[in-house]
């Protein structure tokens, strides 16, 4: 958890995160750093990253490659401001491409356009 402290999380923050996600202990600092780097590459600010992790501490247990694939998938679909998307919808980071494509396909079946699908993700909590 050293990296989280260096990143600016307080002991209280980390305690709350560990209370919610008891599996954080099993994550190495290297992986924590890689997962935070991914968010930084999506233009998330330090404050946004803190808010994302506090809300969704389970993000720290995600597979790095799965998260990268998910982001690639979202970008390819047309999502632009991923920092805002993940800030409002932090649990989205726990879903893999297949799960997201299932949601998208359900919306497509209801004749939603790409723009409407993007709006759906921007204005609704997706879990």
């Amino acid at each position: 958890m050293d990296y989280l402290i260096r990143f600016g999380f307080s002991i209280e923050d980390i305690k709350n995160m560990m209370d919610t996600n008891i599996y954080i202990n099993s994550v190495s600092d290297t992986n924590v750093k890689k997962l935070i780097d991914i968010l930084e590459k999506c233009d998330c600010t330090t404050v946004q990253i803190r808010d994302i992790l506090l809300c969704n501490p389970f993000y720290l247990n995600q597979e790095i490659n799965t998260v990268k694939e998910t982001i690639k998938y979202l970008e390819k679909f047309g999502f632009k401001k991923l920092n805002i998307l993940f800030g409002t919808n932090p649990y989205l980071l726990n879903l893999n491409c297949l799960e997201i494509s299932e949601i998208i396909n359900t919306l497509k079946d209801k004749k939603a356009s790409v723009e409407e699908i993007i709006d759906y993700f921007n204005y609704n909590l997706v879990i």
Partner: protein, 375 residues
Amino acid sequence: MLNLGYSNKEISMLKNTYPIKKQAESTLLYNMKNLVNYFTKNGFNNSDIIKITIAVPNTICISIEDIKLRIKSLMNYGFNKILTFELIKNYPYILQLNNEKIKTGIDNLLELDFRPKTITNLIINYPSILTISYSSLKRYIKVFLDYGYSNDDAVYLLSKNYNFFDLDPKDIKSKFTNFEKLGFSNSDIIEITSYLPDLFNIPVNDFKNRFRSILDLDYDFTSLCNIIKKVPFIVTDTYIEKVENSIECFKNIGFSIDSIKSMINNNFYVLFYEKEYLESKISVFKAFSFDISETIKIISDCPIIFGFSEELLKEKLDFYLGINFKEYLIENSKILFFNLEVIKDRYSYLSSNNKSLDYLFLKDNEFSKICGGDI
């Protein structure tokens, strides 16, 4: 032997054991002396040695060179010295297995794609794995392959949940059927157990009982199964307790059964928060002069609020109360979901251009049409 701490009864029992009876007394004494010297040097105390020889009397018949060879064989497969001796203490029977048997046991596992590190853990936790024949191991794997697991998942599951080796492969099939009867599909079972092999250790008839706190809310089991698929760890004892505690806490705060169900439907992660954490979020609303019924209404409609950091929640409440949106917020708490920076920019634009604040929460493209830009 009496000096070492053996009782007369134990000595008599050992003397009457078949392999010992066959050996010359001088050989036995010689082996025993070497055995005691060797294990004492490696951190065993007298009672450890007595335990080993009582559990596996044949140990006294094996020469110390042979024992060293067997230990070396284990170490060749990735066991360090500490683990090896721990293994012997916990499972003295391993000394019964000669070098060839240990090698065959480990080679079988490697041949069936068990990973070296997994094998080490497996042998430590379930040493008799080394005595299971190649064809039997294959039969266990086949049960999972037939059900639809990949070979990797089947091997992972067996190495994590070694209790399966105590079952007949046919009984494993009935575990699948029992979980299907609960409402899980074949692919659900594969998905959940590939992540959480321990699921199979939960007795099916106790399964619904574990989730009594949720089901007592009249929450339907199919929706619960969907949550389990997304967060399989919810079935573990720790999380079951968290779920019970959080539901109890919601009730104590004053949330109605319907609002708890609605929160779980919208954001099941609320079930994993601690009592103090949940209460601290409620107290933020109190500090902003919301009464408890207003607070409950706001959170029930937008349960992600529980996930907000205290700073973020304060910042959002401060902003909306600052622009006199308290009443609007109570009726439309979803506005707390929106990104505050975006809303602040929009507010600034609308107010400086004398435009209606009704446009504040429009979707991006609709707002762009109003302001003619990309705010």
